[in-house]
Symmetry: C2
Subunit: 475 residues, 2 copies
Amino acid sequence: MAPNLDSYFSQVDNLSDHFIERLRQAVAIPSVSSEAARRPDVVRMGHFLADELTKLGASVELRELGPQPGTDLTLPPVVLARYGSDESKRTILVYGHYDVQPAEKSDGWETEPFELTVKEDGRMLGRGSTDDKGPVLGWLNAIEAHKVAGIDFPVNLLMCFEGMEEYGSEGLEDLINLEGKKYFADADAVCISDNYWLGTERPCLTYGLRGCNYYSVEVSGPGADLHSGVFGGTAQEPMTDLVRILGSLVDTDGKIQIAGISDQVAPITAEEDGLYDGIAFTMETLHESLGSKTTIFEDKKSTLMARWRYPSLSVHGIEGAFSAPGAKTVIPAKVIGKFSIRTVPNMEVDQTNAVVYKHVEEAFKKLGSKNTMKVYAQHTGKWWVASPNHWNFSAAAKATERVWGVKPDFTREGGSIPVTITFEEATGKNVLLLPMGSSTDGAHSINEKLDKRNYIEGIKLLGAYLHYVAEEAIV
Amino acid sequence: MAPNLDSYFSQVDNLSDHFIERLRQAVAIPSVSSEAARRPDVVRMGHFLADELTKLGASVELRELGPQPGTDLTLPPVVLARYGSDESKRTILVYGHYDVQPAEKSDGWETEPFELTVKEDGRMLGRGSTDDKGPVLGWLNAIEAHKVAGIDFPVNLLMCFEGMEEYGSEGLEDLINLEGKKYFADADAVCISDNYWLGTERPCLTYGLRGCNYYSVEVSGPGADLHSGVFGGTAQEPMTDLVRILGSLVDTDGKIQIAGISDQVAPITAEEDGLYDGIAFTMETLHESLGSKTTIFEDKKSTLMARWRYPSLSVHGIEGAFSAPGAKTVIPAKVIGKFSIRTVPNMEVDQTNAVVYKHVEEAFKKLGSKNTMKVYAQHTGKWWVASPNHWNFSAAAKATERVWGVKPDFTREGGSIPVTITFEEATGKNVLLLPMGSSTDGAHSINEKLDKRNYIEGIKLLGAYLHYVAEEAIV
């Protein structure tokens, strides 16, 4: 039978302003993990979380991960915390990340990206609001609401919050493998809140993710940048080579041009083929979150399959070329193209890297250039698919129906949370993805937001999930 | 007979530290015309020049050019100055620019770009040292050395120094056309010092330039940047379209792929064909200034022809994409590719634009993309070729031989100084390009420098040129 959650829910409502203030403080710390200059802010964010958790009565450890390979930087600490150690209770391990994507007002934000701005329509704008500071604080808020309401916390909660997720979770995998049978030893299941509803109305539980292999193609020639008037026509230009290589990777309709990729993709089964039609997802919602109608497909099924079960390739940008507004007549001496491939079953990282390197090397060879080209993976992450029939998922489904009044969709996602598979392998336990935000939140984009409703109801959901987990029978 | 210049030359040597200090003050003002935030520094640099000229006894006007089209910026003033108005003397109009290319230490500079750093080997590193603050100050220094030495100044000197050269000389053409028969009415010839020796040893006089048409290709689709995990494979990506368009423009060996360009290039004559072999230029010097051996051609003649009399196309960069170090899994919503074409006789701006727009539009059409594409010229500038037999050139040749002890090469250049043709048309007078710096100065590059020897001897050259101009017979 459903646990009595009413007093917990009303306490969350009472504390909602306080919880929003806590999110404001977190967003104000520009913890951008991919920018060296921001590293002290990332560390500061880790300490902020540790302090908040300590105040709430959790036992906290800041785990240092040492130097960041290939840099003179030190990796930010992983926040490990335990709240409760009652052997009669189930133990749930939750994960989140406290670092964020880069953001500058000049990118086109309507507000200061590192100042949480609550709009009248309930949008709470700010970098990290939904990815992933809101959900991370959700767990802290759930603890606090229980304490204030005087309700016994239903489980032992293990927490693992990292500061390098947006830069390939450097250093975390080793730590999780190390602690799988130690700090995380008594975990009965894992829950990660770091993804999004498919749309804006129906909640979902997620049991699959795509992987992400991120590549750099470096082309260099001249000793320094050159004046295009003086050298144009006499020197082979790295940019000329690079745009031709980048132009060979994928076509406008997303078809990857790299030989050997499609052979690695698992064929579709009849059972899977029937899954897509029932999902609460419309092209209208996609167009809304996209902000345009420039979709590759016109129908829901092809679109969901393209996002969930087929690989995609995106060209992200070029480092070393002229990137400012205006006109600069420079021939860049060294340019680094960045692209990534979202991977799916049954692609293997090494196999994928091999065909990518082969394609890029052959494309460069075709150019007959005297410049120097290097292609390498900045980071790689495997895809993940879990069993949605586990009690971890059924408890989350009941909690969702209790809080939101609807049964959740069981979905997969196009994004990558490499740590998911690491937790599964290190603990040997079921992993659930329980999203807080909705499809229009714009993670990684300008004007990233979390709706107040999703934040507050999401805090209720995380708490309710722990209550249902506590009483859910093992199936 | 050659004028007695010895006391002028020795005075320049006596004042050399003072002249270097003046250059240090100028380089310290980051007058980057293409960056809105730097506009006040550009204006400050104009006022610095006006103040120095006034102190030297010149009559100075700061001519405002009004708002910069398409921005909320005001154009920096043009510094107009006159030194001397003796009707018995010839009047020489000189031009230079006090704005510079963008520069950041993080671009890879070995020194702070806006701090002049004099190395033991005589290299004076700093943005604008050679392009074009050194030569501009050369005229001021020539005046000062005459005053201090008590030598009568041989000509009336008209000066026109602008602050928008690196951004298409916006607003200047109208001013020159307006003043051609007014402020510049008594000019007998024009001299511009804003280019470079072909090598590092033999000086040259330049009688031809390539033009420059600078283009933007804008591709947009989504309403904001997107997360490549969530949208990869479901949305048509502007970057995918843009790199394919940029990849279609030119090949690794510099061959422009745009139909209709080569038809616009003047055929080579037997006389021109014989010009190249005598020029003091070696592939070794080119490799040195290039900092590599990644040249398109292996021989001097093909290389000089490629620089002087054939068009070239360079891809400079992309605005709006991810350009920082590290990894960002973003799908940019709007990206602007930047490329330029160096133009030569007999290419006409309108004809060239027409075939460029046609090529880009067809390349985009081929993609069958739902994204939106715009192609347009940011600025255009015509090529220029003058008569090297004019007394303006013969005076400069004698001055060069007097200062440097060698006859100068008569050369053309690959770079663009659009104002050259404007002065020729507005005054109807011969225009001479008299370079101060050498081929290894690296204008527009990191570690831009002017050799101390070229600066000091260059000051002597500019002064000597004015003395020979004063007595040169009209041929």
